[in-house]
């Protein structure tokens, strides 16, 4: 197929050609960026939690009046839950992965260091590792004699008595690697305050923080042996088999209600729901972008159909002449297809530049990363395809123009 006659024709329809090129360019630029944004969201929604999500339930209850001994109350509740049929393991925790509400501490490696090394989240609660299902990769789990009542610890903090403070901690592999790259973290000390030094006794494979907004810091997690009392902020975590979740949740709630009919259940959900809740904005954004991409491609395709039809109608006589002079239907069909390919290529080339520009704008205003080169071909291929599909109808109509048209309208 000779491209020169096409170019000379397009030069005669400069304006409409330019419009089409610009439309394709804009669509290409927006689609590249939107696909990139969708990719980002999907990647974020895929963030690993490190826990057995399909086997976990979360319950929070609020007491109407503060119990006289919250520690005893918590132990009773845990015992009640452990006896519910189908329950494999029970823990209580001050926070849950992807739960949003979080307790965080500023870590120092040297108590005298003026600036923090980093900010990590702190899980407090007994029996967390087996219940959550996070894997211990080295060292040991926390034992019951590591645990200190939070009230005792607070008093110790107040009067400087280091005996009543917790002394050990578990950390995630990511945190260990960040604090002591390439070294054995076991036995090293992390300072939460100048007097609270915690010795690393174990490393867990992965445990995401409740407030995992920044992917890079999502695994900066510690488990500290502080025993919390029952309160509205405390969560009961129940491990069960995936298929038993609904029945176990109902039974667990009934058991808790039976133990004290006065209290109010404020949260009752599976971890699938916790994750769904946490990422709902990301999912919504990705959904909206998919919708916009679809609308853009449809509109652009319709525009191509419209202009191509116009061109075909305008050139009926020329097509007739070409057919009369011996051009086959295939020649005419290919002519319009090639014409569209040329226009799309111009549009895509311009669109790449524009896509880069839009990305620069988004980077400076919305803290987005740079658009990776891999996204450019996605937009290009999509638009080439759309162009070819859209032009097929008008091109077939052009190919159907009979040679006799050449003789008629002169």
């Amino acid at each position: 197929m000779d491209i020169l006659p096409i170019l000379s024709t397009l030069r005669r329809h400069k304006l409409t050609s330019w419009l089409l090129v610009l439309e394709i360019a804009l669509t290409c630029a927006i689609v590249c960026n939107a696909v990139f944004l969708i990719g980002q969201r999907l990647q974020r929604m895929d963030m690993p939690s490190g826990v057995a999500e399909h086997e976990l339930l979360q319950i929070q209850v609020a007491d109407v009046t503060t119990p006289s001994n919250p520690y005893a109350r918590l132990a009773e509740d845990v015992a009640v839950l452990r006896h519910v049929p189908g329950v494999l393991s029970v823990a209580s925790s001050n926070q849950v992965p992807f739960g949003n509400s979080s307790s965080n501490g500023n870590i120092r490696l040297d108590p005298a260091q003026p600036e923090r090394t980093l900010n990590a989240t702190t899980y407090f609660g007994e029996n967390l590792v087996p219940t959550l299902g996070t894997r211990l990769v080295s060292g040991r789990d926390l034992q019951s004699d590591d645990f200190v009542d939070v009230e005792t610890a607070m008093k110790g903090l107040g009067n400087g008595d280091s005996k009543s403070l917790p002394h050990v901690t578990l950390i995630t592999r990511t945190l260990a690697e960040r604090l002591w790259p390439g070294q054995n973290p076991l036995g090293r000390i992390i300072y939460l305050t100048p007097v609270v030094g915690l010795r690393v006794v174990g490393v867990v494979d992965s445990l995401v923080r409740p407030n995992a907004y920044d992917t890079a810091k999502a695994q900066y997690t510690m488990i500290v042996p502080l025993r919390m009392g029952a309160s509205k902020d405390q969560s009961y975590l129940i491990r069960t088999r995936p298929e038993d979740r609904a029945s176990v949740l109902a039974a667990a709630l009934a058991a808790l209600k039976k133990a004290d009919p006065q209290r109010v259940v404020t949260t009752q959900r599976s971890f699938d729901e916790v994750r769904r809740r946490f990422f709902q904005d990301d999912r919504a954004m990705a959904g909206m972008l998919v919708g916009v991409i679809a609308a853009l491609l449809i509109v652009t395709a319709l525009g191509i159909v419209g202009l191509a039809s116009f061109w075909v109608a305008q050139r009926r006589r020329t097509i007739g002449v070409r057919r009369a002079l011996g051009a086959t239907r295939g020649n005419i069909l290919h002519y319009f297809q090639t014409e569209n390919f040329v226009l799309a290529t111009f549009g895509i080339a311009l669109g790449m530049v524009l896509a880069y520009g839009i990305n620069l704008f988004l980077m400076s205003h919305y803290e987005l990363p740079r658009l990776p080169g891999a996204y450019f071909p996605v937009g290009a291929v999509l638009l080439w395809l759309i162009g070819q599909v859209a032009v097929l109808g008008p091109a077939l109509r052009a190919a159907a123009v009979p040679p006799v048209v050449a003789t008629r309208s002169v």
Partner: protein, 439 residues
């Protein structure tokens, strides 16, 4: 007028002649405009001024109570106060009206038998909160400064709670069991849920599904151990529980001050700096005073309550509209130039360029109007179904109102007429002689 009717007739005839092309244009305009309007309705709701008549007189004091290490790196002080500082600001009372505010979530026992206790979201505030923020009272009113001072067990409840607990009757004077204590209802407010929830950006992050169900005196909430919602700490409190929190350097209380004149604002700023300097001398604050006293719009902007996602969605939708308009320009051009013969005849018969312009812009406007009508329908569907595609927390804010609907149609017509300008210009430049000759 007669001419206009003539153009209308011409336009309809022309549009009818190529129904496919017309439908394409109407669809494109409708799509583009409705995408824009739907996202805009969310953006507008999210970035709106929650109390436009007073926002420039409401100020949020912020103080940098922690050392630089606790800051997020941008030098901004925390967006809430410690108990110590909030009480000091209340005691010194340098504003026209002011209130310390914190979120509570007590269990409430409705008076009617057989009802389960409810955990309800509310706020502990001072008496001046109500007149300062112009809360709409259905029955009764707020409490007085004397009741603040006495930590009196009084409560202002929302219409929703009043319906639930008292069946919607005037409940002023009746009592309500909150966290095991009797509170006397002194007022019932009408639905009140401003967005962004400017009175507690620290705790809510900016948006709430439901408004607060109840308000109790701050002093009473402290005395009755009604615990707070969110807390932010640089270091763990040195003693446990709610009492420990009150003695700690953790922040958990928001503060609003009404300052009605520039002189008052200046004086308050000076007061904050003096206070910080005094605290520094006493060994509490480190570093030079680093305070903020922003009015409400500036505070909401600094807190970035409008999520970046909302803006990006709106930008993407505007991009879609632009592509739709390019499309319309191309199609109109194709459509108008196809009629060069007709234009030639009209020009030869004495129609001026202006007449050709008028004719074709009328045609464009009709396409715009039809697109607007379709856009209206799609915007309606969009706003109703937006929960499925936009951030659910914000989607609830999007509402259909007359202004949005009118804007949709106006934007559609304006955009299409704009898109029709160049094609009409080309049409008006058609040389009559050339067209007549070639036929």
């Amino acid at each position: 007028m007669e001419l206009f009717a003539y153009y209308l007739e011409l336009a309809f005839r022309s549009l009818k002649r190529s129904p496919g092309l017309t439908a394409l244009m109407v669809l494109a305009v409708g799509f583009g405009v409705s995408a824009c309007m739907t996202t805009w309705s969310v953006f507008r709701a999210a970035s709106g001024d929650p109390i436009p008549w007073k926002s420039s007189q409401l100020f949020v004091p912020q103080m940098d109570i922690w050392s630089s290490s606790a800051r997020s790196g941008d030098g901004e002080p925390p967006d809430a106060l410690t108990y110590t500082d909030a009480l000091a600001l209340m005691r010194d009372h340098r504003a026209l009206r002011q209130s310390a505010i914190y979120e509570i979530a007590p269990a409430v026992f409705p008076a009617r038998a057989g009802q389960h206790p409810l955990t309800l979201g509310g706020y502990a505030v001072y008496a001046e909160f109500f007149p300062m923020l112009d809360l709409p009272f259905l029955y009764g009113q707020g409490w007085s400064a004397a009741e603040d001072a006495a930590a009196a067990p009084v409560v202002v409840i929302s219409r929703a709670l009043n319906d639930k607990a008292f069946g919607g009757a005037n409940s002023v004077g009746r009592s309500l069991d909150i966290a095991g204590h009797d509170y006397r209802v002194v007022g019932v407010i009408d639905d009140w849920n401003p967005q962004p929830a400017y009175y507690d950006v620290f705790g809510t992050g900016g948006y709430t599904r439901e408004g607060p169900a109840l308000f109790v005196p701050f002093t009473r909430a402290i005395a009755g151990d009604l615990e707070n919602g969110r807390t932010a700490c640089d270091a763990e409190p040195s003693s446990p529980g709610f009492a420990g929190l009150q003695r700690s350097e953790c922040v958990w209380i928001t503060f609003l001050a009404e300052l009605d004149t520039p002189a008052r604002v200046r004086a308050y700023r000076q007061y904050l700096d003096d206070y910080a300097a005094m605290q520094r001398r006493a060994g509490r604050f480190l570093g030079a005073p680093n305070n903020r006293l922003r009015d409400l719009p500036a505070f909401l902007a600094a807190e970035q309550v409008v999520p970046g996602d909302t803006r990006v969605s709106f930008l993407v939708a505007v991009g879609l509209l632009v592509v739709c308009l390019f499309n319309t320009v191309g199609l109109l051009l194709a459509k108008f130039l196809r009629r060069s013969g007709e234009i030639g005849v009209r020009r030869a018969l004495g129609a001026g360029r202006g007449a050709i312009y008028a004719q074709f812009l009328t045609e464009a406007a009709i396409v715009g109007l039809a697109g607007g009508a379709l856009g209206l329908l799609l915007t309606g569907l969009g706003v109703l179904g937006i929960g499925a595609v936009l951030q659910p927390r914000l989607a609830a804010l999007a509402t259909l109102d007359v202004r949005l609907l009118v804007t949709t149609v106006v934007v559609a017509v304006l955009c299409t007429v704009l898109a029709g300008l160049y094609p009409s210009f080309r049409a008006a430049r058609v040389q009559p002689a050339w067209q007549l000759k070639s036929d």
